[in-house]
């Protein structure tokens, strides 16, 4: 808790952050789709289309297979809750949030891992072969992204002097810590970017728009879901994407974030945040058009590269002390 | 010796191969090529004699400002280059002509051969006389480049394979040596501060005691591993047997006799400087250890060879290892024995490869089993083979016996340097003698099998005396002569050089 902060203000800030995450995430997905459409010389659906999709899904009645267990129905809620909680741990528009005492970067990674774990189980739960295939592929990708992510986090934490996300962002925004050590910083950024692409199921690791079951990873796990469950899962994956983009934007380039709680600083922080996230969404959309999806055993090469970049970032911290 | 004469001699040393190389490219007709070759080699030998006398008088010679530095150590190497070069040039006179006559190579390629040969000589001379360690490195790398195509000269598949392996392995090794030179420069800059002269041997020798020991230790390790690849020390030796087998006989003679010696020279120069900064026991131990391992391994490989050129290649590794042991153990006897061994080995090995070349030309095979009865088929070559084989097996009265005895004496009296084994341990000497016996057995068995016996049916008998036999007689006489009585000036040269190595 931030000392001397009135409880009302703290609760308001937490709620505001949650609202921002929930409301902006479908727009980000819509923005990426729009960018891809434009680059492919199509008009494409509007940016606000995902909102309409979510609205449609929540109104529909879900259909459940009789072979599923409680895991199947509980997973959408668990995934949604863990993703939103992870999102609350990252500074979004203010660098010192009331929940920062719990904002340990390792907690962040493993909250997301909790959601992924249940999603893998749910994919297996329905008993269909495509679900099982998606789950096993997701497990492969997860086992490779985790070391890379942790290495990158160690590199960041060492240069910033703490594993608390809030502290890292605050110090970097004030031009201490990471900002004075560019080489490990950049290696970790490259590694986290590749890991973000892998974890959120973007090309070149997984194609989110594919209709072929044999090429699916994330889509295969949610293949059996319908109605509000599917809506929750889609929303959760959009929030996960936004959370990763927030991580990249605010940990590696947090300048513009609000370091105090005046209304002006907060609004500037929010505006800058939206611009940064939109820019990253543009970048991802362009990358999705530039590369083809990799075959699964090539994904291991790519994630190996991410791991090595993170390892290099760590080594550079020790080697290049200047 | 006036300064003028020395400068003239040094410029002759460097210009002779350069001019001869350029001339070889344009001249046509093999007779002119040979004439150019012999003239330039003659000039080289003459210049060396002059410089050796100057070194005796003054101790060391510098010329062209600080670019060239020659002392007793360099003089020995120059003498080896000159003598073996002369022998090879005489041998090439008959060897190459026969290859052209048989249609193995086109006459035009003879120009290329001589051009590369002279560039090779130039690079080796430059490596020996250069004052700057960096220029020395550049010259040794240039020898690699010049000899790659010489090794692959016959353009057979195996030759290309050997040449590629040689190029890659030696270049990689030399890159490591360059890193060592960079580290040397690093350490000397901190003391000297002057940028352009900090790699000069003259400067380094003066400030060697002030160099930082950590950096110099690391630098010496890199330089040793790098140049050791060129010398053919185990485990960096894998290019050596293939290269020597596939190269034409005179090229193999030059490689075995001279190039390895120049690489040893480079290591010794660095060692001379490193010994003042790091303890001589560390560098000596490194040299002796690798030398011993090379000697032991090569001895066992000699036992199982069935290709006589490969046999001589492994014998090269063995003798270089022995010389390294001598230098590693150090002291007056060890260093003297080492230098003497380098000279003797150069002569014996070239003699061996000349004989091998003749055998190959007549018998058209490199298998030992198929070569028999040399005394009837090629009498002169049989004598040469016998002399070189017995010499390489370190039999008296040949000179290699003397130098090997000296090295073994040094080893048994002082043992390997403290850092690497327990003092007073007899194990190294026993190992050395044992492997010596193994090598002796292997060589003798193969050589006598080739020399005696009844010749195969369809081989032409008889050997005509030609220019190519002069070097055989020369080298053979020297091998026997040195074993019985070493000329005074050589003894003084060796003593001066070993004093240089031990005056720390």
């Amino acid at each position: 808790m931030i000392p001397d902060q009135p409880i009302a203000q703290a609760v308001a800030l937490i709620l505001a952050q949650a609202v921002v995450l929930l409301c902006v995430s479908p727009a980000i997905v819509g923005l990426i789709n729009k960018v891809k459409a434009r680059l492919q010389c199509r008009r494409g659906a509007g940016i606000l289309q995902p909102y309409a999709d979510l609205q449609k899904l929540f109104r529909k009645q879900p259909v459940l297979s009789t072979t599923t267990t409680w895991i199947f129905t509980a997973t959408p809620y668990i995934v949604f809750a863990s993703t939103v909680t992870a999102g609350l741990l990252i500074p979004v528009f203010a660098s010192q949030m009331p929940l920062n005492f719990a904002g340990n970067i390792i907690a962040f990674v493993y909250l997301l891992a909790l959601g992924r774990f249940f999603l893998i189980l749910a994919g297996l739960d329905s008993g269909s072969s495509f679900g099982g295939m998606g789950s096993s592929r997701e497990a492969i990708v997860a086992s490779l992204t985790e070391p890379a992510m942790i290495m990158a986090i160690f590199a960041i934490a060492l240069t910033a002097g703490s594993t608390n996300l809030s502290t890292i962002v605050h110090r970097t925004a004030l031009l201490e810590g990471i900002a004075t050590d560019p080489s490990p910083h950049l290696m970790a950024l490259a590694a986290v970017f590749i890991v973000a692409l892998a974890e959120t199921g973007r090309v070149p690791v997984d194609n989110p728009a594919t209709h072929l079951e044999l090429t699916m990873i994330h889509e295969a796990m949610v293949l059996e879901y319908s109605g509000r469950y599917l809506g929750l899962l889609e929303w959760a994956s959009a929030i996960k994407l936004l959370v990763f983009l927030t991580l990249i934007a605010n940990v590696f380039a947090p300048w513009g974030i609000a370091t105090s709680f005046t209304p002006i600083a907060l609004s500037i922080g929010l505006a800058v945040y939206l611009i940064k996230v939109a820019g990253l969404a543009l970048l991802i959309g362009t990358i999705e058009c530039m590369f083809a999806k990799l075959r699964l055993f090539r994904v291991t090469d790519l994630l190996g590269v991410a791991f090595i970049l993170a390892l290099l970032g760590l080594l550079f911290f020790y080697m290049l002390r200047g | 010796m006036t300064g003028h004469t020395i400068v003239l001699a040094v410029s002759l040393l460097l210009l002779a191969p350069l001019v001869a190389g350029c001339v070889s490219l344009v001249v046509s007709g093999s007779r002119w090529l040979h004439v150019t070759n012999l003239i330039s080699i003659g000039a080289l030998v003459g210049a060396e004699m002059v410089i050796a006398r100057a070194v005796f008088a003054q101790g060391s010679v510098t010329a062209f400002g600080d670019i060239v530095y020659i002392d007793a150590l360099s003089s020995i190497i120059l003498l080896i280059i000159g003598t073996v070069g002369l022998a090879c040039s005489l041998y090439i006179r008959t060897y190459m002509d026969e290859q052209v006559a048989r249609g193995v190579i086109a006459p035009k390629r003879l120009n290329l051969f001589f051009f590369l040969f002279h560039m090779f000589l130039l690079a080796m001379v430059l490596a020996t006389v250069a004052n700057s360690l960096g220029v020395q490195w550049v010259a040794i790398e240039a020898t690699t480049l010049a000899t790659t195509f010489l090794i692959a000269f016959w353009r057979r598949r195996e030759s290309l394979e050997a040449g590629w392996k040689y190029l890659i392995l030696c270049s990689v090794g030399l890159s490591l040596a360059l890193f060592g030179v960079v580290l040397m420069y690093y350490s000397s800059l901190r003391v000297l501060g002057d940028v352009s002269a900090a790699l000069n041997i003259t400067q380094l020798q003066q400030v060697a005691a002030q160099l930082d020991p950590h950096i110099v230790k690391l630098a010496f390790i890199f330089v040793f591993v790098g140049y050791g690849t060129k010398v053919g020390l185990v485990p960096m030796h894998s290019w050596l047997p293939d290269a020597y087998t596939e190269a034409p006989a005179p090229v193999a003679a030059m490689l075995a006799g001279v190039l390895e010696t120049v690489a040893v020279y480079a290591i010794l120069r660095c060692r001379g400087i490193a010994d003042q900064a790091v303890s001589p026991e560390f560098t000596g131990g490194l040299l002796a250890l690798f030398g011993l391992i090379s000697f032991a391994l090569a001895a066992f490989f000699i036992l199982v060879q069935h290709n006589y050129k490969r046999l001589f290649a492994y014998s090269s590794i063995e003798h270089m290892g022995l010389a390294m042991v001598g230098f590693g153990v150090g002291g007056a006897i060890g260093n003297f024995g080492g230098f003497f061994h380098l000279v003797n080995h150069a002569f014996a090995k070239s003699l061996a490869f000349f004989a091998a070349g003749n055998i190959h030309r007549r018998f058209k095979t490199v298998e030992i089993d198929q070569v028999r009865g040399l005394t009837t088929v090629l009498p002169w070559t049989a004598v040469a083979l016998l002399i070189s084989g017995l010499a390489l097996a370190a039999l008296p009265p040949f000179a290699l016996f003397t130098s090997e005895l000296q090295i073994v004496t040094a080893l048994s009296s002082s043992g390997l340097p403290r850092e690497w084994t327990q003092p007073g341990s007899r194990f190294p000497v026993v190992l050395l003698l044992l492997c010596g016996v193994v090598a002796f057995a292997g060589l003798l068995y193969r050589i006598t099998g080739m020399v005696w016996g009844s010749a195969p049916k369809d081989i032409v008998h008889g050997e005509h005396w030609s220019v190519g036999h002069i070097p055989i007689v020369l080298l053979g006489t020297m091998l026997v002569g040195f074993g019985l009585a070493l000329p005074d000036f050589m003894r003084q040269l060796f003593e001066a050089a070993s004093a240089l190595m031990t005056s720390r």
Binding site: D301, M319 | V172, S175, V182, E246
Partner: protein, 222 residues
């Protein structure tokens, strides 16, 4: 320039060397030969830039000459020679490697750590702003050495050798602000001739063996 404190200058030079090391890893992770050649050209460009930065920060003009030579020889001439060799031989990818990509990346990471440990005792003695780059230089040399062992195509082995030379040049620039000019010229000349010779060689290899796969070069045995 008052903002150009020695600390910032060190950071910039370190960043240049870090980019060099990253291109090394990129070459190791690559399967396409023409991409390897392009990455090598990029690496040499980074090298020239780092050398020029060192020359700028420390007022040693002779490094500019070496940097310019690097650009001419290693960014323009040698990649062009290699590209023509690749075209003539019609080899495009490294189909089988002795060590697969993730494992070789990990080994290269370990080599970086080894290089750091080897040079750690001598780095504090440097008072120059580039002393950290000595560890990176040794790492590049070791990675080039490893690549040479683990790859089969003759062209890749040649690129690995040239990478080692790049590392050595970085080491010379970092530790000693470049070698004496005549030595630099000699080294460049050697590297150029070595590349040309190897280019001719791969041609001959192709003619003799119908491939430049060096695992076919196994006819000579102990």
């Amino acid at each position: 320039m008052s903002w150009l404190t020695p600390h910032i200058a060190t950071q910039i030079v370190d960043f240049g060397s870090a980019m060099l090391l990253v291109t090394c890893f990129a070459i190791v992770a690559q399967r396409r030969l023409s991409a390897c050649v392009d990455l090598f050209a990029l690496q040499s460009l980074f090298l020239a830039m780092t050398a020029a930065l060192v020359a700028f920060f420390t007022d040693t003009p002779h490094i500019y000459i070496a940097a310019a030579l690097t650009v001419v020889v290693k960014v323009v001439v040698i990649p062009r020679v290699l590209k023509s060799v690749i075209e003539r031989l019609n080899v495009t990818r490294e189909l089988v490697m002795n060590v697969n990509v993730p494992a070789s990346l990990l080994i290269c990471g370990a080599l970086v750590m080894i290089a750091f440990f080897i040079t750690e005792p001598i780095i504090p003695f440097g008072h120059l702003l580039t002393r950290d780059s000595l560890a990176i230089a040794l790492a590049i040399v070791l990675i080039g050495f490893f690549t040479m062992i683990s790859r089969q195509k003759a062209v890749t082995q040649l690129i690995a050798f040239l990478m080692m030379e790049n590392g050595l040049f970085l080491g010379a620039t970092a530790a000693t602000y470049g070698m004496p000019l005549i030595v630099e010229l000699g080294v460049f000349f050697d590297v150029l001739v070595a590349a040309l010779i190897a280019g001719i060689y791969t041609n001959r290899l192709q003619d003799a063996f119908d491939s430049v796969d060096t695992t076919r070069l196994n006819e000579l045995k102990a």
